[in-house]
Symmetry: C2
Subunit: 216 residues, 2 copies
């Protein structure tokens, strides 16, 4: 009888994990709609039908991919925001800085977790697909309310409706930066001779966002 040794045990991936890993990489690169089940199953080296067998549908696979990150990220962000809320004074920049640790913490679930997650989130918002928008909104919704409230505390001079709009502008800039990030980094590298790592884009983004929110 053949027994797996430790290394082989570690390497052994279930079909579902193979699918999740292959899918998230392709989704983050091409978007959800543009990625076919045949691409995914080929990359994962499993049978085409296994997506429907293990997940039920493509929709469910997409949500499973998102869930792996959301379940780690959202509670972490919530904690950070709550901690900040207990301070007696903070500014917009402090609020956005709350995203940094939860984001980089995603490298636990995957080596390039932080980048992948932001790309996925970007596509989730960019693609108008109802179910995805609803799904992410459901999971983002609770934290969003807290975020809105925290931002309002940081900027009491702005009315709630003003903050609502600015928060969504923030979301748009973030999403867009991630989705078109690879292309932009290429252009930037070509035009300015200076390579920019994916992680550094967020360092450029945060001051921009804080400036926008704080604007008169």
């Amino acid at each position: 009888m053949y027994v797996l040794n430790g290394d082989e045990m570690a390497k052994r991936e279930t079909t579902q994990d193979k699918l999740l890993n292959a899918a998230e990489a392709l989704f983050a690169e091409q978007g959800f709609e543009q990625t076919s089940l045949r691409q995914i199953t080929t990359a994962a080296d499993v049978n085409l039908a296994s997506v429907n067998y293990h997940f039920g549908s493509k929709k469910a696979l997409i949500q499973a991919v998102m869930a792996r990150y959301l379940e780690v990220f959202m509670p972490a962000l919530q904690t950070k925001l709550q901690q900040l809320g207990q301070q007696e004074s903070f500014n917009t920049r402090d609020v956005f800085d709350c995203f940094r640790e939860p984001l980089s913490g995603l490298s636990q679930v995957q080596k390039h977790g932080p980048t992948l997650f932001l790309s996925l989130l970007g596509f989730a918002y960019a693609e108008i697909q109802g179910h995805l928008r609803r799904y992410t909104m459901e999971h983002f919704g609770e934290v969003m309310a807290l975020l809105l409230e925290t931002l309002h505390q940081a900027n009491p001079q702005l009315s709630p409706v003003d903050m609502f709009w600015r928060l969504h502008f923030v979301l748009g800039a973030t999403v867009f930066a991630q989705v078109s990030g690879p292309a932009l980094r290429e252009i930037a590298a070509a035009d300015f001779g200076e390579a920019v790592a994916a992680e550094q884009v967020i360092d450029r983004l945060i001051p921009f966002l804080a400036g926008g929110v704080d604007a008169a």
Copy 2:
């Protein structure tokens, strides 16, 4: 022999115009990929094959829809930017205000031209389709260079590469605001009891953008 009177002459739409009008409305609402030729030709009340007969392909139809607006908007924006460039001193806000007149001028080509155009532009960027990105970049590219230069004049303290990134963040926030504009206006109206016209979104957007670009 039956002769059309003045009114009937004016109402008479060629098949191509029927297609362009039906297409732009559906594109602005659903995006380019999500809109099928069958939807378009049904809405336009023409035969399915007429898209390929008159335009050659769906791709060409999309570009024709964009061209109707770009050909009006881009020269107008260019003029405005050049005028501003001749002033000896101006700030970021002045640069973004250059977009207002060219944008509202689009109501000439269609009643809701300004809103439609921004939505179309939003989808053109949001959808990763190569040809659209290239096409709009080609037509946006010349003006983009001028815009980048003008913004740099307004903010000499920012390095060109910094300004490059911030300009793209600006684009992202704008695009996103338009694409998800209808949904957001709904939420805002429900949550804050205050209806926001599509045109007013840009009034909220511009201060945000200027603040972001000007950020330390």
